[in-house]
Symmetry: C2
Subunit: 219 residues, 2 copies
Amino acid sequence: MSTAEETTGGEVEPWEEVTPDAARRLLVAAVEAFAERGYHATTTRDIAGRAGMSPAALYIHYKTKEELLHRISRIGHDRALDILRTAARGEGSARERLADAVSSFVRWHAGRRTTARVVQYELDALGPEARAEIVALRRQVDAEVRGIIEDGVASGEFDVLDVKGTTLAVLSLCIDVARWFDVNGPRTPEEVGALYADLVLRMVGAEPARPQDGAPAYR
Amino acid sequence: MSTAEETTGGEVEPWEEVTPDAARRLLVAAVEAFAERGYHATTTRDIAGRAGMSPAALYIHYKTKEELLHRISRIGHDRALDILRTAARGEGSARERLADAVSSFVRWHAGRRTTARVVQYELDALGPEARAEIVALRRQVDAEVRGIIEDGVASGEFDVLDVKGTTLAVLSLCIDVARWFDVNGPRTPEEVGALYADLVLRMVGAEPARPQDGAPAYR
DNA sequence: GCCGACGGTGAGCGAGCGCTTAGCGTAGCC
DNA sequence: GGCTACGCTAAGCGCTCGCTCACCGTCGGC
């Protein structure tokens, strides 16, 4: 919860780093289209149309349709890694850092679901060299989570038999949020983040957290 | 693990119900192609080629490419539901039935990964009416798992605050196996199934299993 | 031996794809 | 005002897509 400005509500639009304004509009349009229909089912005409431009305008700012996906995937993975690093390297016990990592990672997957969907599910649409770059980032993501769990095992806070397998399961659980989360559904990203942090603490054998009196308690 | 014949090793090929032999070959080819590259990136020429036929042969057995996906999705969801029903309606405590359900469901997602990938991730490529049919099956899948968890809560075996949310998380965890499982990776489907059954029992607050003597046994 | 049914092929249709190119309007500098 | 640089468009190229159609070989019934 240290990363308050990164929650969903009044979040900073994460595409401000994409500098010519027209290029950013095209990229945002591509994120929406890719998330909605998938990379291969999205046409360059659709992307340009959503950005209010003619089909040819896309090629002034991006060499190919795949370069668009690559930029999106790269920026998205940087963001995801940043979120986990902030939590993993914060102060506090392994328990607190794991809960923080899971809840903020889940909040991102739920609140920025369109981006997360593209980032997590359109990986094999990239060419070999671009995919290799992204896979390297994903290994760093895995390492951050594994690091927290190893800390917790070393300090005796966690009880985990298979650290690598549990790391995989924790990340898997968080990532799949991007598949099923519904913006118009009954749960807010914050609620899902809190629920998942609790479930993950149970998975690693940490003592359950029920600290607050009168805690919200999802019905 | 009552469903011994359904494990991965010498499993029954689940497409025997697809009756003209050529139609089955086409369908199996389509499953492989869809799993590898996604529905939209797969061409009818590729499917027919994998089945050793000319592109036109596909249309003798299926009206459209989408009908192929529909048949695959329908049969796959029937199978997944059958696996969960067998576990959910078996004898034994809620603890045993939940462990059985998770481990067999996970074994299916890992061992029949190509099928599971198509079934779980190509849902929105279906048209509205076909998708509605499949969504109804998915609601039944959800109900089976929720039923076991409710039983466990009622009997005091489980400690769960948010039954619907936990059900969602359990299914989410199992389904995502189809995304990351690698046939050439270090884990067998059976190992992942056992690991995940243990993790899920922890998630619902059931006493850990620890069959081996000399196990650490926290609390 | 002839015939119809059936499962298959080769060629190709209209459409839509990713992407290119020639040219245009405008803003900024002199 | 004259000129260049730049962002953008209209038109369209070459290609591949899902799908169709005219035709063909084989095989069981008579």
